[in-house]
C-alpha cells in the first residue's frame, strides 16, 4: 500500500454570493515533490490556499492532510499538524525583528510539540533558519524595514520554523531579484529533497517550470490542466488562457 499524499484537496468549491471563486477543484501534493499552481489573476489560487490553510471555509469539498480530514480544523490546529504557509500580501510582524518573527514561531512549535520540548534553543534555531535563507546579517532589522524580497525570505524562514510537512508558498518570488530567485529555487529543491511537500503559487512561470515536479493550472476557479512542466508548457488550452508566448520553448 502506498502512503496517502501529504496534501489532498477533494472537490473544493467556494462561492461568494453569486460568484464562484473556486469551482470543484481536486488536486494532491506528494511529499518530496514541488507542486506548482499557476493561473491568471483572479483564477482562485489564493482563495484555494485560504481554504487549504483554514482561513476560508469552503462551500463544499474537503482537505486532507497526510490522510486525515482537516476540513473542520481551525488554522492553528492545521499548523500544529504540519501545515505552513506564506502570504501573497506580506504578513510579517512588522514590529518585531526578522529574528523575532522566526523565534516566535520556533517557540510556539517547541511548546506545542512536547516530545522535543526539552533542549530546544529557540534563539539558535531561529538564527540557523535565517542563515538557511541567507539573511543572517539582517537578523536584527525590524521586519517592516526590510525590502519586499528580503521580507518574503523571512516569511519563508518563519514558515519553516514550524517544521512543516506541507509548505504553501503564495507568490514567494515576487519582489526577488533574478539572482535571489535562482537561490530561492535551489532552497525549494532542497526542502523537497528533505521530504517536504511544497505547493507553489507563482506568476514567475520560468521558476515554476524550473523547479516543479507537477503543475496545476487554474482558470476562473476551475482546474484547467494538470501534468508535468513540459506537458503544461505545450498544452494549447494553457497557452490560450494564461501562458501565451511564455509557454513556447526557446
Amino acid at each position: 500500500m502506498t502512503d496517502p499524499p501529504a496534501l489532498k484537496v477533494i472537490g473544493v468549491t467556494v462561492r461568494f454570493g453569486g460568484n464562484v471563486a473556486v469551482d470543484d477543484v481536486s488536486l494532491a501534493a506528494q511529499a518530496g515533490a514541488i507542486t506548482g499552481l499557476i493561473g491568471p489573476n483572479g483564477a482562485g489560487k489564493t482563495t484555494l490556499f485560504n481554504v487549504i490553510s483554514g482561513l476560508q471555509p469552503p462551500t463544499s469539498g474537503a482537505v486532507h492532510l497526510e490522510g486525515a480530514d482537516v476540513t473542520r480544523l481551525p488554522t492553528h490546529k492545521r499548523a500544529r499538524r504540519g501545515m505552513a504557509r506564506t502570504f501573497q500580501r506580506l504578513e510579517l510582524f512588522g514590529i518585531l525583528t526578522a529574528h523575532g518573527n522566526v523565534k516566535l514561531a520556533v517557540d510556539v512549535r517547541a511548546r506545542a510539540d512536547r516530545d522535543i520540548r526539552a533542549g530546544v534553543n529557540a534563539d539558535a534555531e531561529a538564527y540557523a533558519l535565517l542563515e538557511r535563507v541567507g539573511l543572517l546579517d539582517l537578523a536584527h532589522m525590524r521586519a517592516d524595514s526590510l525590502s519586499t524580497g528580503k521580507a518574503r525570505l523571512v516569511e519563508l524562514a518563519r514558515a519553516l520554523a514550524i517544521r512543516p510537512k506541507v509548505l504553501l508558498l503564495d507568490e514567494p518570488a515576487s519582489g526577488l531579484t533574478e539572482e535571489e530567485t535562482v537561490q530561492f529555487g535551489a532552497i525549494l529543491r532542497e526542502l523537497a529533497g528533505e521530504g517536504m511537500a511544497v505547493v507553489l503559487v507563482e506568476h514567475d512561470v520560468s521558476l515554476v517550470f524550473a523547479v516543479c515536479d507537477v503543475v496545476h493550472v487554474l482558470d476562473r476557479g476551475a482546474l484547467l490542466a494538470s501534468g508535468d512542466p513540459s506537458s503544461i508548457r505545450a498544452d494549447q488550452r494553457v497557452l490560450d488562457a494564461y501562458l501565451g508566448d511564455a509557454g513556447v520553448p526557446g
Binding site: G54, A79, F93, G100, V108, R109
Partner: protein
C-alpha cells in the same frame, strides 16, 4: 388583552425610534467604515439643543427643522472634517478609540452646556391629541415616530441603491483607491454620510426625549440600545436592522408591562428592563458567526516600547520616590487626592497588555475594577490585603467568561460586547439585592454603598492617608515591573504579533482565541487589584464609581498617554488627579475640563502612539550619559525637598522638576558629535529640471549602483 395591545403598540413606536437611530449608525458604518460610538451622544446633544431652542421661544416646527437640518448635519460635517478624515488608514483600534473619544467629548459638552442640576421638561408633539388604533389610545407623537421610521427605511434604501451619491458612498468604503480612480470623491462622500447619520441620530434623540427626563447619560444609553438592532444586521443589512429594532422595542415594552416588581423575584427582575437591550446585544454578538481571521490591513503601525530592566527599574523608583515626596509635602486631603490618582493609574495599567499590545478594545475595565473593589469591601474587612488576590482571581474568571464569546469577534463587536457587559453589571446586577442560592449569599452592592476599609499591612498596621499614597505607588511600581516582564517575555511578542496579524499567528500554530482569553484574564485580574486598591481611597463605593461612563475617561486618557507602556497609565492618573485641582483653582474652566479626556482621545488620529511614548523618545539621550542622569535626579530631589520645606511653591517646583530632564536631554543631544556625516541626497536640487546623463551617473554613484550597461 388590552394591556398586551397597549404594550405592543407602545413597543412598536419605541421600535421606530430605535430603527431610526440604528439606521443612522448603519449608514455611517457602511459608507465610511467607522463605527460611530458617539451616535447616542449626538442624539442626546440634539435633544438638549431642541429643548434649548424651545426654551428660547421658537415654535416646535422651527426648532425641529433647525436641529435636524442645520445643527445635526453641521455637527456631522465638523466631526468628519476635524476628527475622522485622517483615520481611513489607521489601525482599527485607533479608529474605535477616536469614536469612543467623540462619545466622551459629546457627553462632556452636554454636561457643560446644560448643567445636570436643572429639570428640563419636554412636551410630546401634539400633546393633547390621541389616535385610536384597535381601540387603544395612541399618542400622535408615537404614531409619527413609527411613520418616520418607515419613511427613513424607504429613503435610505433608495439613497444607497438608486442614487449616484449612495452608490459612490458604498464604492468608497469597498475600495477607496479604486473609487477615487473612477472619479469618486471620498472626502465628499464621507461628509455626506456623516451629515446624514448625525441628522438621523438627532431625529431619534428628539423623538425619544419627551418620554424621558432629559438626562445626558440616560438619553445617550437609550440610543446606545439601538446598537443592538444594528448588530443584528452586522452593521450592514438595513432590513435586518429594522427587524432588530422591532424585536428590541417590543421586548423593552413587554418588559416594562410584564416584569414583576414585587414578590420573590421582583427585586431581581425590576431593574432587568434597563438591561434588556444590552442583554439582547450581548446575545446577538455571541450568536454571530465567527469573523474571519484578520490579515494585516493597517498601513500605520503603533509603537510598543520594550524597556530595558534598567529603565523599568528607574521608572519604578521614580514613581515611588515621587509618591514619598508628595506624602511629605502634601496636606492629608491632597495626599488622598493623589492616592486616588495613583489608584486610577493602577486600573489604567491593566489596559496596557490588553489594548496596547493585543489591540483588543475593552470597554468594561471599570467593571473588572468593580469586582476587585466589591471583594475588598466584603472580604477585606480590616484592610486584609488577601482580598485583593481573591478579587483578582474572581475578575480573571469573569474576564474569561466575557472574552469566551467575544474572543472570536472583530474589534468593533468586541468593544460593543464589553460595553454591553459593563451596562448589564451597572444597570442590573449591581442594582440587585443579595442573592441567596443553595445556602450561599452572593453580594454585590445590595442597593447600598459598600464601605471599604483602608489597607492594613503586616508590620505597618492600618495605613494613614500618606501611607496609603506610598503603598499605592509601591503597588504601581511592582505591577509596572510585572507588566514589563510580560512585555519582555515571549508572551509580549505573541500579543504584538496577534495585534498585527491574527491570520499569520494562526498559520504558525498560535490559537488567536485562546491567546485573547489569556490576555483578558490577566488584564481583568490587574484591573481588579487596581480597583481594590482604588476603592480603599474612596472609603465607600457605589456602582456609579465604576460604570461604563467611568471606563471612558480611563481608556481615553491612557490611550492619549500611550497605552502600549506604563507611561500611558501614569499620564491617565496624573491628568485625572489634576482635573479637580485645576478645576478648583480656575473655576471658570471647570466645566470645560469634562471634555478633556474626550478631546485628548480624539487627537489620536494625529498622534497614535500617545504622549508618553513621545516624551520617552525625547528623554532617550539621557540613557547614554549616566552622569547627567544622576545630576538630573539629584537636582529634582533637591527641588522636591525645597518644596516640602516651603522654600519653593508647588507649581514652580513641579514645573522645574518636570522640565529639567528634557532640557538636559536636549543638552546631551546638542553636544553629541554626529556619528556619521549625512549622506548627500542624490536628488537634491534636481526636482525642477530634466535629468541629463551626468545627473544619472551622479545618482548612480551616490546610490552605489553599478553602471547600467547600454
Amino acid at each position: 388583552m388590552d394591556q398586551f395591545l397597549i404594550a405592543t403598540i407602545t413597543g412598536l413606536s419605541t421600535a421606530g425610534i430605535f430603527a431610526i437611530a440604528a439606521s443612522g449608525l448603519v449608514l455611517t458604518y457602511t459608507t465610511t467604515g467607522i463605527f460611530n460610538f458617539a451616535h447616542g451622544a449626538v442624539g442626546m446633544l440634539a435633544a438638549f439643543s431642541y429643548w434649548q431652542l424651545l426654551d428660547w421661544g421658537l415654535p416646535t416646527g422651527v426648532a425641529v427643522a433647525v436641529v435636524l437640518l442645520v445643527l445635526g448635519p453641521l455637527f456631522g460635517l465638523l466631526v468628519e472634517a476635524v476628527v475622522m478624515r485622517g483615520l481611513f488608514d489607521a489601525p482599527e483600534t485607533s479608529r474605535l478609540v477616536v469614536s469612543v473619544a467623540l462619545l466622551a467629548a459629546a457627553l462632556g459638552l452636554g454636561v457643560w452646556l446644560w448643567p445636570v442640576d436643572e429639570s428640563r421638561p419636554l412636551d410630546f408633539w401634539f400633546e393633547d391629541n390621541f389616535l385610536g388604533i384597535l381601540g387603544v389610545r395612541v399618542r400622535w407623537h408615537e404614531a409619527i415616530a413609527f411613520i418616520l421610521a418607515v419613511v427613513v427605511a424607504i429613503g435610505l434604501r433608495v439613497l444607497l441603491r438608486s442614487t449616484r451619491a449612495g452608490v459612490t458612498m458604498r464604492a468608497v468604503v469597498d475600495d477607496r483607491g479604486l473609487a477615487s480612480l473612477n472619479g469618486a470623491r471620498p472626502g465628499r462622500s464621507a461628509a455626506l454620510a456623516w451629515a446624514l447619520g448625525c441628522s438621523l441620530a438627532a431625529l431619534a434623540g428628539i423623538l425619544l426625549a419627551p418620554a424621558q427626563a432629559l438626562s445626558q447619560q440616560t438619553l445617550t444609553l437609550l440610543i446606545v440600545n439601538a446598537y443592538a438592532a444594528a448588530m443584528l444586521g452586522r452593521l450592514r443589512n438595513l432590513p435586518m436592522t429594522f427587524l432588530g429594532a422591532a424585536v428590541l422595542g417590543l421586548l423593552d415594552s413587554y418588559g416594562f408591562f410584564y416584569l414583576p416588581t414585587d414578590g420573590r423575584f421582583g427585586p431581581y427582575l425590576s431593574t432587568f428592563r434597563f438591561a434588556i437591550p444590552v442583554v439582547v446585544l450581548f446575545i446577538v454578538l455571541i450568536a454571530l458567526p465567527s469573523a474571519r481571521l484578520r490579515t494585516n490591513a493597517a498601513r500605520r503601525r503603533l509603537a510598543a516600547p520594550r524597556p530595558t530592566w534598567f529603565t523599568a527599574g528607574f521608572q519604578a523608583a521614580a514613581v515611588v520616590g515621587g509618591a514619598v515626596v508628595l506624602a511629605i509635602g502634601l496636606s492629608d486631603a491632597d495626599a488622598l487626592r493623589a492616592a486616588k490618582a495613583v489608584g486610577f493609574a493602577l486600573i489604567a495599567l491593566s489596559l496596557v497588555p490588553l489594548v496596547g499590545w493585543a489591540g483588543q478594545l475593552c470597554l468594561c475595565q471599570m467593571s473588572f475594577a468593580a469586582i476587585g473593589a466589591v471583594c475588598m469591601g466584603h472580604l477585606g474587612q480590616g484592610g486584609n490585603p488577601w482580598a485583593l488576590l481573591a478579587g483578582a482571581l474572581i475578575a480573571a474568571v469573569v474576564g474569561v467568561l466575557v472574552a469566551l464569546p467575544a474572543a472570536r469577534l472583530t474589534g468593533i463587536e468586541l468593544a460593543l460586547a464589553t460595553a454591553a457587559f459593563a451596562v448589564i453589571l451597572d444597570r442590573w446586577i449591581f442594582a440587585m439585592p443579595d442573592i441567596h442560592l443553595w445556602g450561599m449569599t452572593l453580594s454585590t452592592f445590595n442597593r447600598n454603598p459598600v464601605p471599604v476599609d483602608r489597607l492594613s499591612l503586616p508590620f505597618a498596621g492600618t495605613l494613614t492617608t500618606k501611607g496609603l499614597l506610598v503603598a499605592l505607588a509601591v503597588a504601581f511600581a511592582l505591577l509596572h515591573l510585572l507588566v514589563v516582564a510580560v512585555r519582555r517575555s515571549r508572551a509580549g511578542d505573541l500579543l504584538l504579533a496577534l495585534r498585527e496579524s491574527p491570520a499569520a499567528c494562526a498559520t504558525l500554530g498560535i490559537d488567536p482565541a485562546g491567546t485573547r482569553l489569556a490576555v483578558f484574564a490577566f488584564s481583568a485580574a490587574l484591573a481588579a487589584v487596581g480597583g481594590g486598591l482604588y476603592a480603599g481611597t474612596l472609603g465607600s463605593i457605589s456602582p456609579s464609581s465604576f460604570d461604563l461612563f467611568q471606563t471612558l475617561p480611563l481608556l481615553l486618557l491612557t490611550v492619549a498617554g500611550g497605552v502600549a507602556a506604563s507611561g500611558g497609565a501614569i499620564f491617565a492618573g496624573v491628568v485625572l488627579g489634576l482635573i479637580p485641582v485645576v478645576g478648583a483653582t480656575f473655576a471658570g474652566i471647570a466645566g470645560l475640563l469634562g471634555i478633556l479626556p474626550g478631546t485628548m482621545g480624539a487627537t489620536l488620529g494625529r498622534n497614535p502612539d500617545g504622549v508618553s511614548t513621545q516624551l520617552a523618545e525625547r528623554l532617550a539621550p539621557l540613557r547614554s550619559k549616566p552622569a547627567v542622569l544622576a545630576v538630573v535626579v539629584v537636582v529634582d530631589v533637591a527641588l522636591a525637598l525645597a518644596w516640602a520645606n516651603d522654600v519653593l511653591g508647588g507649581w514652580e517646583a513641579s514645573i522645574a522638576a518636570f522640565l529639567l530632564p528634557f532640557l538636559a536631554a536636549r543638552g546631551v543631544n546638542a553636544t553629541r558629535a554626529p556619528r556619521t556625516a549625512r549622506l548627500a541626497d542624490p536628488l537634491d536640487g534636481l526636482e525642477d529640471r530634466r535629468l541629463g546623463p551626468a545627473d544619472v551617473s551622479a545618482i548612480d554613484e551616490a546610490l552605489a549602483l553599478a553602471e547600467v550597461t547600454r
